[in-house]
């Protein structure tokens, strides 16, 4: 029996301490003796969230190696073999991951640019607790109104990997996700989305503005009438 902490549970607790903005004073961790087999072992979890904007697409890629392949993954990153994961090694690995991805918009390939990479500590990695976090984006050609299709295909280390691929709800309400299609293993995700027509938005804005103006007029007139001086009120 080998003792192992569950990465999911402990990470969730750690975030709470950061958000509250205070140091982690005391956390009761009840660590039971459990076989390492209790956790992800020989799989490399690659979870991708896709954020679509009118002029670019953002990818959030979290890579979590199981404990029995963590050493192998560390070896992929640790190019100089010194047992440490440097920032430059992290950048090189992140760019290698990106070259395994193909992103197309309306069937045209777009170029991904790495925005950020965060590596866990080597000890966390090798004990199956570490997640490599990549953030990348691609500029999109000026989006015409109407239906569009974005496809992300991940071919990084397929022999040992499992995949999760999902669209985030767009923060821009002019963009509406219509469908998400995946292959069974989620190697690929195709997102159909609509961008609202500018004309429709203009019409909505005009109507909203007109209604707002009307409402304000009613409120102001009503308000003024309440505060009209006694001498000015009709008798």
């Amino acid at each position: 029996m080998i003792t192992a902490r569950d990465s999911s549970a402990s990470r969730l607790l750690a975030v709470g301490s950061r958000l509250l903005g205070r140091s982690l004073a005391v956390i009761v961790i009840l660590t039971a003796s459990t076989p390492v087999g209790a956790h992800r072992l020989d799989e490399y979890l690659q979870a991708t969230l896709v954020g679509i904007e009118t002029d670019r697409v953002n990818l959030e890629i979290d890579l979590t190696p199981g404990v029995s392949i963590a050493q192998q993954v560390t070896g992929w990153i640790d190019a100089d073999g010194d047992g440490q994961l440097s920032q430059s090694e992290g950048l090189a690995y992140a760019n290698e991951v990106l070259t395994s991805l193909a992103v197309t918009v309306d069937r045209k390939l777009v170029t991904l640019t790495l925005r950020d990479v965060q590596l866990p500590a080597v000890d966390d990695m090798t004990s199956g607790l570490g997640t490599i976090r990549l953030r990348a984006s691609a500029a999109l050609p000026e989006a015409a109104n109407g239906r569009h299709e974005l496809t992300v295909v991940n071919r990084h280390r397929p022999q040992t990997s499992i995949y999760l691929s999902n669209a985030l709800v767009p923060s821009d309400n002019r963009i509406q996700i219509v469908t998400q299609l995946r292959d069974r293993d989620q190697h690929s995700l195709t997102i159909s989305y609509d961008i609202e027509t500018t004309g429709a938005l203009r019409r909505i804005s005009w109507v909203t503005g007109a209604l707002g103006l009307l409402g304000m007029t009613v409120v102001i007139r009503g308000g003024l009438s309440r505060f009209r001086p006694r001498w000015a009120r009709p008798v």
Partner: protein, 199 residues
């Protein structure tokens, strides 16, 4: 986290090998999101009694998917495998595009079953807080989705997700093992009491 206070925010955290509970407390209000109840083994015998730590969550999920008719199942069942939590640790406040079947397309009994599943997580809190949270989930039921991936016969490997404006619940067997389950309970508008603290 922080100092227990009648007015200032603080977090009660309880964590173990397969458990992370975060209860953010602000005055009389408290929220338990995000929390990660999990289990391995998911079934064991203790003193001659079979214990299933996430048994209700499992059985009620299977009961609901089997209470849906064929056309409803077609909407609820995803065409791909989901082998882990989509919104596990590190995804606070994120909202994925919902999938599956809208609860507004369910009949009253099916909706009750859905709420009953959600209560398995929400009900970990004290009754007062749980009642308020369940009322909020019920109010948003028309915008709440139920998605399923995997076997529909109880005992098989199946993932499910309940997603509404203020609740996300995922039930995810790990590595195809029904004896190793991770779940997560989130409120994307109120993880770690973000909504409470900002008031």
């Amino acid at each position: 986290m922080g100092a227990p206070s009648a007015t200032a925010p603080w977090i009660l955290q309880f964590g173990g090998h397969h458990l992370a509970i975060n209860v953010t407390i602000v005055g009389p209000n408290n929220v338990m999101t995000p929390s990660l109840p999990a289990a391995q083994p998911a079934r064991y015998v203790l003193n001659g009694q079979t214990i299933r730590p996430l048994g209700n969550e499992n059985d009620k999920g299977f009961a609901l998917i089997n209470a849906l008719d064929a056309s409803q199942q077609k909407q609820a069942i995803l065409s791909y495998e989901v082998k882990d939590l989509v919104l596990g640790p590190g995804n606070d406040g994120k909202v994925i595009q919902p999938e599956g079947m809208l609860a507004s397309g369910m009949n009253a009994r099916q909706q009750e079953m859905l709420l009953d599943i959600a209560h398995e997580w929400v009900g970990i809190l004290n009754d007062e807080a749980a009642t308020a949270k369940m009322a909020e989930i019920k109010q948003n039921l028309g915008k709440t989705y139920f998605a399923w991936s995997g076997a529909t016969t109880n005992g098989g490997v199946a993932y499910y997700r309940i997603q509404g404006p203020t609740v996300i619940i995922e039930y995810a067997p790990q590595q195809g093992d029904v004896d190793h389950i991770h779940t997560i309970y989130r409120d994307p508008t109120n993880d770690y009491g973000a909504r409470l603290v900002s008031k």
